[in-house]
Amino acid sequence: MARLSLTHLQKVYGDFNAVDDVTIDISDGEFLVLLGPSGCGKTTTLRMVAGFVPPSAGKITIGERDVTVLPPWKRNCGLVFQSYALFPHLTVAENVAFSLEMRKVPHAERAPRVAEALRLVQLSGFDERYPRQLSGGQQQRVALARALAMQPDVLLLDEPLSNLDAKLRQEVRVEIRDLQRKLGLTTIMVTHDQEEALTMADRLVVMEKGKVRQIGNQRELYERPADRFVAGFIGRSAFLDGEATAPGRFRSRGGLDIDVGAAAGTGAATLALRPERISVAAEAGTCVNRFEARVEHVSYLGALLDIDVRLSEHDRMLLQLPNRQGSIEPKPGDTITIGWAEDAGLVYPREP
């Protein structure tokens, strides 16, 4: 177990920056999730840590060791592959013992360590099976046990749950997290699944186009998104395009003047609002920002109603109402009053 540092890490393919100046410090025993849309560089970053992709620039250290130029077999990072990558010609026990064999761990020591790893993933008694005789979930556990048996300094998980069905995913999520805590393993997981990331991580790194957009815990990312991308990527946001006219003032394209909390600078900007922070009808009465809106579309989602409203010719937004008994249920064509507090809106400079 050890802390892991990525310093100004960069990977350039031709003139394409796959990973661009990524600096992350992961403390001992921390569960860090790299989250982002496909092609954002999260997998390349993970593969650089594992040693499969040589960085174009930057430094990777595990504990006190600088591993930047070490080959994969000298890094001691346990990697769980998305496809599991079990050795098809070896039994479960032989798969798990592979790293011990490579390190010439004495035979007498191997069996107990294999048994312990299989016990941790609740696969005791599967020693003599071959990977093809196992279900997807069991294969996933073998892959995890194989990575754990080597007693890695860092555990790397590459979309480990994406090949499991939804119900199993929920279970395995909790199991991996428990195991990671119990063993105190410094872990990086890569995923594009936001829910998975939010439920498992100590801290999250949101990446896009090779760059780190924001690092923080769940609450920080949701309530204080660093930019418009994060505001749209983590949870849902309603966006209004317009202009920051003065500190604390925002004017939408449709000409609505809106009071916002702290807003740096002026110029073309986007206002982001969390849909659940928008109040409707009587509840909107005390809000600083209050507008008449025309309901365009209502989606019934069980616990919630998604409502598309139009505030002016150029301003549309999404709001969410809890589906409580006796609460109003707007219909398309209705005109309703909506409002929000000034600190509900976050203003971001418009991105080119």
């Binding site: 499969f52 000298k74 990697l79 079990l86 098809p88 010609h89 592979f98 490579m102 194989r146």
Partner: protein
Amino acid sequence: MPGAAVAAGRWPGWIRRLSTAQRPSFGRIALNGAAGLSLGFILLPLVFVIWLAFFRQEIPSFPPEGYSLKWFAAVPGQKAFVDGFILSLQVGVLATLIGLALGVPASLALVRHRIPLGPLVNTLLLLPLVMPGIVLGTALYVFQIETEIATGWPVLGSAGGLIAAHTLVVVPWVVRLVTASLAGFDRTIEEAAQNLGAGPWKTFWRVTLPSIRPGIVAAGLFGFVTSFGNLEMSLFLVGPGRTTLPIAILQYLEWKIDPTVAAASVIQIVLIGTAMIITDRYVKLSRVV
């Protein structure tokens, strides 16, 4: 509506069977028939050779006068056959081993790395497979004579020269079958091995090689059979007193046509067939070839 008429059964049975629902099965019957015919055409000489080996009379004629096993008993008595068999076996085994040692790395390079003129190299390595044996034999004959003149080494007629030539016909099988098994190979398991502490060499021996073993075994088998049965090319390259089994059989046939030759062939067929069946138990040949 013709469909209704067919369904109503006013048409003869064979037309009804040709109606829409049944039509594919007619195609299927034709296809199976054609396949069966082709298979029969291929197997016919085999059947006749085996049948002939059990004839009692010395000059093959139909119908047989009776049946006997004496020709099988005669085979070990023919020194040329026994010596030829031993030489063919030695040459075949050595050529196969050398062919694998050359062909497996070549396949890895072709599939894994972008080597200059890769497709051309691939074609060159497969070429001996399509080159007529006579042409190959003549070319190698001239080449070996020229080499002898240039270096003074006795190449032509030597065991080494013969094995080198046979290696040439083994390599295409190795390259074809091994590149095919490498093409479907999931390279992440190699990464997994490296992640678990295996260097490149260990990764190759413990993960890559076992995964392409079916292709290698099949390549070895087919390479050996090709070498063992090679006649045309070998004719040019054997030296005095160094005769492979196919040449020994040919020479025997110049003087006699009794069923000893058929018996020797049956023994060969049985040996190769057994080798295939045994191999198939360990690696499914149908999956690689």
